[in-house]
Symmetry: C2
Subunit: 195 residues, 2 copies
């Protein structure tokens, strides 16, 4: 019954813009780049996203929504806290394999050059990720699966920063292999001491 989901032009533009933003940054691609890729003109893109700041806001909204959905799915699994953290790290590794970074990670580097709305969306993304991670490590510790000192929120911040930094560094230096080495240690910080 349901017809195949033909991607709209707006979606195709968002797809192309997202890929480029995660590779080159928001200031690293132009309407002309996307227009060439999609075989349309820049005027067509302006019809769907009148200003580039609008495109950026829609980009972040979609990315954050999808990321939140992925976290909700992982959070709903009946598995250990360590396995959930592993799945979280896998989200990062998957984008690195495509030569990309986390959209909010790379945009955080351009933070000072971005419009106010995009800044707020980036902050909200980090806050949301930190909250999700804090819950996972807090519950994990309560269950005795994880072991760490201090506040869950601080532990969550360290995991978030460790993985964002590992993406940033490993894309330039070391690749997926070094990313995994760093990610493993970042997550092991909350693992129970070996008996």
């Amino acid at each position: 019954m349901a017809s195949p989901p033909a991607a709209s032009t707006a979606d195709l533009i968002l797809d192309a813009a997202e890929r480029r933003a995660q590779s080159f940054g928001f200031n690293g691609f132009s309407y002309a780049d996307i227009a060439d890729e999609l075989k349309v003109t820049t005027a067509t893109i302006h019809y769907h996203f009148s200003a580039k700041s609008d495109l950026g806001a829609d980009l972040l909204q979609r990315y954050s929504r999808r990321f939140a959905e992925a976290l909700a799915e992982i959070g709903g699994r009946e598995c250990s806290a360590a396995a959930q953290l592993g799945a979280y790290a896998q989200l990062y590794e998957d984008v690195l394999r495509e030569g990309r970074l986390c959209l909010c990670g790379i945009l955080a580097a351009e933070y000072e050059t971005l419009p106010a709305q995009m800044r707020e969306q980036i902050v909200a993304f980090f806050a949301s990720n930190e909250a999700w991670l804090a819950k996972v490590v807090r519950v994990g510790r309560e269950r005795g699966e994880l072991q760490f000192a201090g506040e869950p929120r601080d532990r969550a911040m360290a995991i978030l920063c460790g993985l964002e930094g590992a993406l940033l560094v490993a894309r330039a230096y070391g690749g997926v292999e070094r990313f995994r080495a760093a990610a493993e240690i970042v997550l092991a910080g909350a693992a129970p001491a070996a008996a």
Copy 2:
């Protein structure tokens, strides 16, 4: 005897460019921005750095040299490995206090848009930092001051990534306070278990 070190125009240009690059990225400032700040014209800057890629290369060379000098100084101190790691993290915190990021951290986000020479310099910076950190944690473990499993090199990568990521995230979300919380946990990963 020695006259006061009057900063040359080239140095003033490098200073201004460095400050802007650490805040807005290499693609986030123009010759006109620096020219306005120094009350000169863009032609003057082109006289000292004929292409922007030359400016970028000189910027990275000077930054890496100064950073290496700071690491050599810290490495020469007669203090514990933990204290050396703390001093290392302090270098990062100091730039965050000025609203900046590590030059190579922010340029790593723009990596795919940068000329080949700058890419190589960024990679060399990360490799050099990793090597310095690896030595500190290796010696620290040998002395019984630090405790961690696995290769010193992997531990070094995790510290480097954790601090670079903490800078990136904390500038947008949480500020110096959250940076310290994350940095503390990153370094604590190699600390001896509390008795």
